[in-house]
């Protein structure tokens, strides 16, 4: 027990040495002190320690700290840990710790510890003192708790709180105050409240003056304020509205106050909300009434509860009529169920509001379209009260929509079905959109064309035709580009296109894209080329021919005449240009001729070979022949005449010569005919008149012979016989001659008749001779032809009579036949008579030609001449074939004439 010894020694030697004195002091200190060895064993404690722990020190010497807190190992461990820490770093240490001490109670303590060294300087242990601070901490804790509570309230209050001193300057404020006022606390503190820092107004908007400050009012009146409203004006005109309460700070029950406390809450939102509600209600009322839309409150069973003016106007009912009616009553029959489902959904709360379009029937029966929005007004419990319906008249829009749709559709169809190729071309020159026709024209499928540029498929010769004009187009100097150019189709064929292009611009006038129209004019171009070629050909032709070309305007004034005219005619063209055709004289035309020509032109008829004999400057004339055709433009409007002219002077002269020759010939023919007729007439008259004296000679000779014959001598009687015989032959001659002349002068009209008829007549006339000669006359069927029956009978009679007269030794056989020779008949009379020698074949048809003496065969030599004349009068010819001694065949032809219908 060296330690205890030491303590005891210390006590004993308390006055003896400083050390003893220190021990005595320690022992007498009211502060518990203890010593511990390096290994943690208690070496000694003082009286205060014994009292504090309630343990006798002597019993505890040598024990460790764990023995001190048998039931509180945590405390022991803490101490031990602190000891270790101290040994780690020798020196002083202090820490607060709550320990269990006397009576098992807990004490708040501060341990102060310090190491000490032995004589060798090694740390030998520690000395500790315990300061019981339990009482202090309790008071502090109570105060602190109180303060803390207030501070918490102060700081955590939603109300802003400012504390003012006696001079009404702010000495404290909470965070809410800072937040509500919007000024940092340090700036507020020391100031005369926020009303001095910021412009403030009363509830009615008047500015708050210094005396009106809530604190001043409070101080002046001595009464706290409650619910005093002050607004802080914020930049931008908004207000932060505060409800301010004030109170006094006093010591105890003292009537004197040393400060003022002010609490305030931000009622801006509330106040705004109230205003908003008020405004909203007003606005709603006004809105409801003045709304451009039709508004209605509709009960759950579909009756109108409230309607606005616009709705009344829209539906054509008065408010009085509409309220009480059902929605169903004014709905279009076809749209009765349109609103049903959406309305139910809104009523069920599935959706807030719904919008749909339906038709209504106005009072006047008209159908109107409305866009309807329905929302449900509910009570606080969410139960539907009524429906709010907003109706907008979209009748016009519906119509416009329809028109628009139609227009768009039309546009689309137009685009697609356009007879022209249509393309939208981007500003990068690439095709954006093309229609089918364009694909056809260019020969590319749409998929290939889109994205290509027009330049890629342009004909190399036409590359820059459009580009040259683009700047002007984009600058707005020209409205469109119109060109004709060539493109190379996909199959490398060339297509001519009439290209026109405009620029589509946005509202700001900026180009968006180009719209281009393509028309295939290949055929036209080819036609033009062909036309040009044709015109060239025509031009060369007119250059080479005698013709010239002319044009007349709508008033028939000559506006163009090719040079060829003056070259050909020598006429002065200036006398004709600008004038009408009838302004210049034509020697061959009468006024009536001109009027007719003019009328023809005015009827816009073509004319041919209009001949004019124009006087020439040299005193002669030129014959001009013009032909013309009216010109009509594409719309069918008359544009004048064009045509050709020809100098026909030479032809006219030739014609005149020919006509003169012809006239002379005709005159000669007439003379010849007259001469022939005179001759025939002469023959007729002569033969007729010759008969008179002949009859006298013959008759009186016979009368002489009859009365005085017996008185005459033989010679006289013979002479008289010759007179009578001569007179008889002369009579026959004259009669034949008369018959011959009568063929030409007394012929009858040709009439269709069977040729058998004159044949039968002839046979009848010859019956006596035929019977006398026992002749056989036969014939084939003969055709019907246009003939002079009397003359043909004479013809047959002469021919058959000849056959009988010149009959051979046998029975005469005479046969008549006809052969069809296409354009004429050939008739033959064949006999078996004596025949004719060939050298007489022609002679026998001549007048007075006879082959036999009067003694052999009587006759005048006129019969066959008459036959020839008859045949020739019928347009045919007559000839004979014969073999002497065997017979003759007389042939004659009769041309076929058209049988008159």
């Amino acid at each position: 027990m060296p330690k205890v010894k030491q303590v005891e020694r210390a006590r004993r030697e308390e006055t003896a040495t400083p050390l003893d004195a220190a021990f005595k002091l320690v022992d007498s200190l009211p502060v518990p002190v203890f010593f511990k060895s390096r290994d943690g064993r208690y070496l000694g404690v003082n009286r205060a320690w014994e009292e504090f722990f309630g343990i006798a020190g002597s019993s505890f010497i040598g024990k460790q700290v764990a023995d001190l807190y048998p039931s509180d190992p945590a405390i022991a461990e803490k101490h031990a840990a602190m000891d270790s820490a101290l040994y780690e770093k020798p020196g002083r240490q202090s820490y607060e710790i709550t320990v269990r001490a006397r009576a098992g109670r807990l004490y708040d303590t501060i341990y102060y510890k310090s190491t000490y060294a032995d004589s060798s300087g090694e740390v030998a242990g520690l000395i500790g003192a315990i300061v019981d601070i339990t009482a202090r901490t309790s008071a502090e804790a109570a105060l602190r708790e109180n303060e803390e509570r207030w501070r918490t309230i102060f700081n955590s209050a939603n109300e802003g709180i400012l504390v003012y001193d006696r001079e009404l300057n702010v000495v404290a404020g909470n965070q809410a105050a800072e937040r509500i006022i919007g000024v940092p606390l340090p700036e507020i503190i020391g100031a005369a409240g926020f009303t001095s820092l910021l412009p403030c107004v009363h509830a009615d908007g008047r500015p708050v003056h210094t005396d009106d400050r809530p604190t001043r009012i409070t101080a002046r009146t001595g009464k706290p304020l409650s619910g005093h409203v002050v607004g802080i004006k914020r930049a931008g005109g908004a207000h932060t509205w505060l409800s301010v309460n004030t109170g006094f700070l006093r010591h105890g029950e003292s009537s004197d106050w040393y400060g003022v406390i002010s609490s305030f809450t931000d009622i801006t939102a509330q106040r705004n909300a109230e205003n908003a509600v008020r405004e909203s209600e007003e606005r709603y009322r006004r809105t409801f009434e003045l709304a451009g839309s039709g508004l209605a409150h509709v009960s759950l069973d579909g009756h109108f509860l409230r309607v606005n003016r616009r709705l009344c106007e829209f539906l054509g009912y008065s408010e009085g009529e509409l309220v009480g009616m059902t929605v169903r009553e004014i709905s279009h029959p076809d749209d009765l169920s349109v609103a049903e489902t959406p309305r139910n959904k809104v009523a069920a709360g599935e959706i807030d509001s719904v919008r749909f379009e339906k038709r209504y029937l106005r009072k006047d029966g008209a159908t109107v379209w409305a866009s309807v929005a329905i929302a449900m007004e509910r009570d606080a419990n969410g139960r539907p009260l009524y429906a709010i319906s907003v109706l907008d008249d979209i009748t016009a829009r519906k119509e416009t929509d329809a028109a628009m749709r139609e227009s768009e559709e039309r546009y689309r169809r137009t685009f697609e079905l356009a007879g022209s190729g249509v393309a939208h071309i981007g500003l990068d020159r690439k095709f954006i959109r093309v229609n089918r026709r364009l694909c056809e024209i260019l020969g590319y499928p749409e998929s290939e064309l889109i994205g290509m540029t027009g330049r890629e498929i342009s004909h190399p010769g036409d590359l820059d035709i459009i580009n040259d004009q683009r700047p002007s187009l984009y600058a707005g100097e020209i409205e469109h580009v119109r060109v004709e150019k060539r493109y190379v189709r996909r199959d490398y064929s060339i297509v001519w296109v009439a290209f026109s292009m405009v620029v589509e611009r946005d509202a700001a006038g900026q180009p968006i894209y180009e719209i281009a129209i393509f028309d295939d004019i290949t055929e036209r171009k080819e036609a033009e080329a062909a036309l040009a070629e044709s015109e060239e050909r025509f031009r060369s032709l007119t250059q080479l021919s005698s013709d010239w070309y002319w044009e007349q305007d709508e008033q028939f004034g000559l506006k163009f005449m090719s040079r060829r005219m003056s070259e050909r005619t020598g006429l002065d063209p200036s006398a004709y240009i600008g004038r009408k055709r009838w302004d210049q004289p034509a020697l061959n035309l009468t006024d009536e001729d001109w009027a007719r020509h003019r009328a023809q032109l005015e009827r816009h008829e073509p004319f041919r070979d209009f001949e004019m004999e124009r006087p020439n400057t040299d005193g002669g004339t030129r014959w001009i022949c013009v032909s013309g055709e009216p010109i009509f433009d594409g719309s069918g409007r008359f544009r004048g005449y064009r045509g050709v002219g020809q100098d026909i002077t030479a032809r006219k002269q030739a014609e005149a010569d020919l006509r003169r020759a012809h006239d002379e010939l005709a005159k000669k023919a007439d003379e010849l005919q007259r001469s022939n007729a005179e001759l025939e007439q002469f023959a007729y008259v002569a033969s007729h008149d010759l008969q008179e004296p002949l009859r006298m000679v013959s008759s009186y000779t016979q009368l002489l012979g009859k009365r005085y014959g017996d008185k005459l001598t033989g010679d006289a009687q013979e002479f008289m016989h010759y007179v009578v015989d001569g007179a008889a032959r002369m009579k026959q001659l004259i009669e034949d001659l008369l018959a011959y002349s009568r063929v030409g002068t007394k012929g009858k009209e040709f009439k269709p008749a069977s040729i058998e008829a004159p044949l039968r007549k002839a046979i009848t006339n010859l019956r006596a001779s035929i019977e006398e000669a026992s002749a056989a006359v036969t014939w084939d069927p003969l055709p019907t032809e246009s003939i002079d029956e009397v003359q043909l009978a004479q013809l047959f009679q002469n021919l058959i009579g000849n056959a009988l007269k010149f009959r051979g030794p046998g029975v005469p056989r005479i046969h008549v036949s006809a052969v069809d020779q296409n354009d004429h008949w050939e008739l033959s009379i064949a006999d078996n008579g004596i025949g004719i020698e060939p050298q007489y074949f022609e002679r026998i048809f001549m007048l007075f030609q006879r082959l036999h003496t009067m003694g052999e065969y009587p006759g005048t030599g006129i019969g066959l001449a008459i036959c020839k004349k008859v045949v020739e009068r019928h347009g045919g010819k007559i000839w004979v074939a014969s073999t002497l001694g065997e017979g003759s065949q007389f042939h004659f032809t009769l041309p076929k004439r058209e049988t008159p219908s």
Binding site: Y684, S687, H688, Q691, E692, L694, R695, M696, S698, S699, Y700, Q702, L703, K706, A727, A728, K731, E735, L738, R742, K746
Partner: protein, 148 residues
């Protein structure tokens, strides 16, 4: 030469005295009982028929022998006037022609001569013709009753 009846009053209109004489001779040869009156042209013939001038007392002829080729007024005109005169149109007219051709011409006028006789060259034939006229008159023609 009467056989109890009146002679036939014959008016011969003929410009040729040879023919007048020959006719007279032929009538004589044919033993026709007649009074032959001779008018030398158409004008004279019409005066005779209308009993004008020197023919005031001329008889109404029973038959007229009319030549066509007459001076002043030719046979066709005379025939026309006779046939358009109600008093005369029943008198038979025998037209004496020189040729068949004349007959054709006359027919075309459609003047309804009662008979056409071509003057024959042969005397005997002429006598036969005149004789046949006589027979024609005696046997066929019944004279219409005299209006006066």
């Amino acid at each position: 030469m009467t056989d109890g009846r009146s002679p036939i009053e014959i008016l011969l209109v003929e410009d040729n005295p040879g023919d007048e004489r020959l006719t007279r001779e032929a009538l004589k040869e044919g033993k026709v009982y007649n009074n032959l009156h001779w008018a030398k042209d158409g004008v004279e013939a019409m005066e005779f028929l209308n009993q004008r001038g020197k023919y005031k007392d001329a008889p109404r002829p029973d038959i007229i022998l009319l030549d066509l080729n007459l001076p002043k007024k030719d046979g066709r005109e005379v025939l026309q006037e006779i046939k358009s005169d109600d008093k005369l149109k029943r008198i038979p007219v025998v037209v004496l022609t020189t040729s068949k051709a004349e007959e054709d011409v006359l027919r075309t006028y459609n003047l309804h001569a009662n008979c056409y006789v071509t003057k024959p060259v042969d005397l005997e034939k002429f006598i036969v013709v005149v004789r046949s006229i006589d027979i024609f008159w005696l046997t066929v023609v019944t004279l219409p009753p005299n209006g006066h």
